[in-house]
């Protein structure tokens, strides 16, 4: 396993490598492969019957659709937030910078009941929206709100370092060559930020697909309407339908892994073109 070309005098390779692989194998690799084995023991007809049933398909549509939209919202506003934090000085800037991480630190169940409280008919936001005839809590819009909340830090945190790294001289060069502010932004700044923006977007998207805690309270969990895919896994488990839960999990895992692959490729691409 060890690269023979490299002579390393530091101690502990065998011990640390052994411990690391054992820990990961026991906790992650073996349990996840057992899930696959278990899924493989289902017949194809059984598998399809579960994962392609109308109720489950409706949940994919909601999960993927709301996750995608939430990531788009976060890409736009995350850009604005990151830009303001890096480029401008204003009161409370440090406080704002610190609070961006709140969705990471806040337990999802707590976020869930808090969002439900403000979006319900009598809540701060819900009461304003209901004047316009819009219902947020217990609708698909509520799912979108929860997924936007939990994905908020990703775009900001991936863009911030990239924005700080941008060479001011490039911008100045563009402007001295006669580019307008808008041209400098779209032709010089935006292209160099694209890999980070795309990474942040995909991270938020991937996180939203698997999210459970913050959504179940605000969604109301109406069949065919506001059920997300992770909720259906839990519902199958509670009905002791282990085969069904496994089948849906495999589909959800597959979607997550594709996104993870995209993230890794984007990061590779970003490094290559730096």
């Amino acid at each position: 396993m060890r690269n023979p070309k490299q002579h390393n005098v530091l101690p502990g390779f065998g011990l640390t490598f052994g411990f690391t692989t054992a820990y990961i194998s026991l906790l992650v690799l073996i349990p996840l492969s057992l899930l696959m084995v278990r899924a493989a023991s289902l017949t194809w007809a059984e598998f399809i019957k579960t994962v392609a049933s109308p109720q489950v398909v409706a949940s994919y549509k909601l999960t993927m659709g709301a996750s995608f939209l939430a990531a788009v919202i976060n890409a736009i506003f995350g850009f604005i937030v990151a830009w303001s934090l890096v480029r401008y000085k204003f009161p409370c800037r440090r406080l704002i910078d610190a609070i961006v991480d709140l969705p990471f630190a806040m337990p999802t169940a707590v976020s869930g009941i808090a969002l439900t409280a403000i979006c319900a008919k009598n809540g701060w936001v819900g009461s304003v929206a209901s004047i316009a005839g819009i219902k947020i809590a217990y609708t698909q819009l509520g799912v979108l709100v929860a997924l936007t909340f939990i994905g908020l830090p990703f775009v900001v945190r991936t863009l911030q370092p990239a924005l700080e790294d941008i060479d001011k001289e490039l911008e100045e060069a563009a402007e001295s060559l006669g580019a307008t502010k808008f041209q400098t932004f779209t032709r010089v700044i935006l292209p160099s930020l694209m890999p980070s923006l795309a990474t942040g977007f995909t991270l938020a998207f991937a996180r939203a697909i698997g999210e459970y805690g913050s959504v179940v309270f605000i969604s109301g969990n109406l069949a065919y309407k506001t059920e997300i895919t992770p909720l259906l896994i839990v519902a199958k488990l509670e009905a002791f339908d282990y085969a069904g839960a496994t089948a849906i999990s495999v589909v959800l895992l597959f979607m997550s892994f594709i996104l993870m692959f995209i993230i890794n490729s984007l990061q590779f691409y970003g490094r290559k073109f730096k």
Binding site: R2, V9, L10, F13, T20, I209, G213, P230
Partner: protein, 270 residues
């Protein structure tokens, strides 16, 4: 003219977006918790199930976090101090829990230890309870939170390289001494940050523990699960939010410690 207006608009949008999505929910927790007054708030904690949930959360995090800290340090040492084949695969595996839905993290342990399997029956025959008991909660929590410490340490230790440690070896120091006297002082703030993040997530984990817990009141309900039980139950409102203030306070403390650490780092760089 535009150069004066644009910053103002962008800053206002920042305040609006973060105010709407972050400040309002946070404020709502405390307002809802104290809506019926301070006495009602305090009375929410006058419940044996509430206290057993608090104890169970402390116990679960008390086991899961130290194990993940040990793993994090060992794995980061292995990955940053040595070159070996398959390193990138190992790093990808470490990131895996971030890509797996917490619900699935819980499900895998139900599939292994649940009654429907051969192994599960054997456990049952020997009266060992894992699922719907504390060990299952600990396992699910470890799964969900183990990348936090190692993810914090890897970039930090990569940046520091191996020169200082190699010098220590030349001077005759053993592995243990090298770690405590050379590596540890360099990584202690990053490590602390990883630990508090890991802890916040461990105490607040909902999806994964919800699947393995079975929601037995007073036995397998952690604080987040207790919040759900109360929220869905008869009393709703106030007491669920009262318990939520504990976790919200934990989240705020986590953010404060994080900011202090970042501030210290920045000052050291200057």
């Amino acid at each position: 003219m535009t150069s004066k207006i644009a910053p103002v608009i962008l800053i206002l949008l920042t305040f609006f977006y973060l105010g709407l999505f972050l400040v309002l929910p946070l404020a709502a927790i405390f307002v809802e918790a104290f809506r019926k007054g301070f006495a009602v708030y305090l009375n929410s904690f006058n419940d044996e199930y509430a206290w057993s949930a608090i104890r169970l959360t402390l116990l679960t995090a008390g086991i899961a976090v130290p194990l993940n800290v040990i793993f994090g340090v060992v794995a980061a040492w292995c990955i940053t101090k040595f070159e070996f084949w398959g390193k990138n695969i190992l790093i990808t595996l470490i990131d895996l829990p971030f890509a797996v839905s917490p619900v699935i993290a819980g499900l895998v342990f139900v599939l292994i230890f649940g009654r429907q399997t051969f192994f599960g029956e054997w456990l049952l025959a020997h009266n060992i309870k894992i699922i719907f008991a504390t060990p299952g909660l600990v396992l699910a929590t470890i799964f969900v939170t183990f990348p936090f410490v190692v993810r914090e340490l890897i970039p930090l230790m990569q940046e520091q390289g191996v020169l200082e440690e190699e010098a220590a070896v030349m001077l005759g120091a053993g592995g243990w001494d090298i770690f405590w006297r050379v590596t540890f002082p360099n990584i202690k703030w990053g490590l602390l940050y990883g630990v508090i993040l890991c802890n916040a997530r461990a105490m607040g984990e909902f999806g994964a523990v919800s699947v393995v817990s079975g929601h037995i009141r007073g036995e397998t309900n952690t604080i987040p699960l207790y919040i759900q039980t109360v929220y869905d139950g008869y009393a709703a409102g106030a007491s669920a939010f009262a318990m939520a203030t504990l976790l919200a306070a934990l989240a705020l403390i986590t953010l404060i410690i994080k900011s202090i650490i970042e501030w210290k780092e920045k000052r050291r760089e200057r």
